[in-house]
Amino acid sequence: MKYLSIEHLSKSFVNGSRTAHVLSDITLTIDKGEFVSIIGHSGCGKSTLLNLVAGLTDVTRGAITLDGREVNAPGPDRAVVFQNHSLLPWLTVYDNIKLAVTKVFGRTKTRAERHDWIMQNLDLVQMSHAADKRPAEISGGMRQRVGIARALAMEPKVLLLDEPFGALDALTRAHLQDAVMEIHARLGNTMIMITHDVDEAVLLADRIVMMTNGPAATIGEVVTVDLPRPRDRIRLASQPDYVRARESVLRFLYERHRFVEAAE
């Protein structure tokens, strides 16, 4: 049941006479409803991979297909939760989501239905109390919640999360991870999350895709996390399956593909 498939994908950026090969020959298939984490050292091109799936960057070679259709431009069927929330500061929380909902459902839903849909998504991330606030008036964690609500409100086929909790403190991050897990359990979305946090990857993902270091990074290894859901971070900490998965990711990142700062 291939839902999203990435086949022999390569990406290089040409800058004058210099060509930088960022990604080479990446092949990955993701099932509907699956949660995949992509992990790797910084600069390995994992964000580029996500941008390619989002359609924000053009593919150099290879192809991406989603639900039988080739991806070659950005669109609301691949909603992105950006690392720095990217809410529009001049709009209220409600209006930020409204912009997306009006664009995606302007023709298919009535005004009242759209309003209900916006509030439903705000409820989902527990942010309906701040509907009339501007992004500057709420905390970083809350902004990221709204970013998630905006992405979910597009009813995407795939939800792409680009290091969504990277800029948050550890406690807020844990809350949001729980929120994402709950949403995934409730809605069964297909999700791809970029992260550099091993615990986060193991806790959330069904599969962890580990990237080798760039240039010309590719998929080094894929670990299947066979832990039952719902997952509880405290009980998980002592489970042998969890420990084993965590260890294999750590071993990949720090033994076999140690990040060398001077590797240029």
Binding site: F82, L88, K103
Partner: protein, 295 residues
């Protein structure tokens, strides 16, 4: 919870260690607020008022000599006080109050500057979107914007064959450059994040313009408009001196030709005041419109 428990809880209220002396309120909060507002107003108004009085005194003393060519402030008041007291009198088609003249000039500025604002923002938005266009157009704009307003007037007269549209064109061509340049800079400064959001939502060009570009670039656009409105007001007075009509600029030229120096000085005060109000008005609109953008 039973009653005894409640009572015990009530006993926990803090008690003062020493007897508390209630001080009488010095003034009601409302009166204090009024006083504060009055003080703030005085702090804003008194210093410029004092400077004005000092300057007028220096002027009075300096211009009271025997061979002085300029009227003193007192003389100005005696000669032309009615121009200040009655801005909106009408004694004939050419003999009208300075208020009317300022309004006539403002009407021309409204046409010229309004056109410059619309065309300038649109042009700036298009140019700001493309690095290549920016590279091509920017040097030309930088040269054209330094051309003094009046230098455009002969060409304008030749093209329009009429003083009315010529004056409006001079305003337009003077005000448009800062609007274009600032809008283009503002559009270039739109963060990639907002562009990504627009791309994911598949906003079309028009939606992108209204929903992302205008609000994101509003602070830049309005600083361009503010410079532009100042320049238009500079240009209209000069243009009217040459093209005639009933504007405030022509009034000065007319007064000079009939040696009414006091009238000129009053007209200068009108021009300065109007320019100041225009500048503040555009600045205020900009603050209201771009509220939240900077945050």
């Amino acid at each position: 919870m039973n009653v005894t428990a409640l009572k015990r809880k009530l006993d926990l209220t803090p008690k003062p260690a020493a007897p508390v002396v209630a001080l009488p309120p010095r003034s009601t909060p409302r009166r204090a607020a009024w006083r504060k507002r009055g003080q703030a107003l005085a702090a804003g108004v008194l210093p410029p008022l004092a400077v004005l009085v000092v300057l007028l005194t220096i002027w009075q003393v300096g211009a009271s000599g025997e061979g002085s060519g300029l009227p003193t402030p007192v003389q100005v008041w005696i000669d032309s006080g009615f121009l200040i007291l009655e801005p909106f009198y009408v004694y004939g088609t050419q003999d009208i109050g300075l208020g009317w003249r300022v309004l006539t000039s403002l009407e021309r500025v409204a046409y010229g500057f309004g056109l410059a604002a619309v065309v300038g923002v649109l042009t700036g938005a298009v140019i700001g979107q493309s690095a290549l266009m920016m590279r091509g157009f920017d040097p030309i704009f930088q040269i054209l914007r330094t051309v003094p307003p009046l230098a455009w007037l002969p060409i304008s007269l030749a093209a329009f064959m009429d003083s009315g549209p010529s004056a409006i064109f001079v305003i337009f061509i003077t005000a448009i450059w800062p609007v274009i340049i600032n809008t283009a800079a503002g559009v270039r400064a739109i963060p990639q994040d907002y562009r990504n959001v627009a791309a994911v939502l598949r906003l079309n060009q028009i939606e992108f313009f209204w929903k992302i570009m205008v609000p994101a670039a509003a602070p830049y656009i309005f600083s361009g408009l503010r410079i532009g409105v100042g320049l238009s007001w500079l240009a209209i007075v000069a243009a009217e001196m040459l093209t005639g009509g009933v504007g405030i600029g022509f009034f000065i030229w007319d007064a000079w030709n009939s040696s009414r120096l006091s009238d000129i000085i009053v007209a200068l005060a009108y021009i300065g005041g109007t320019g100041f109000i225009l500048d503040r008005l555009v600045g205020w609109i900009g603050r209201v419109v771009s509220r939240g953008t900077a945050a």
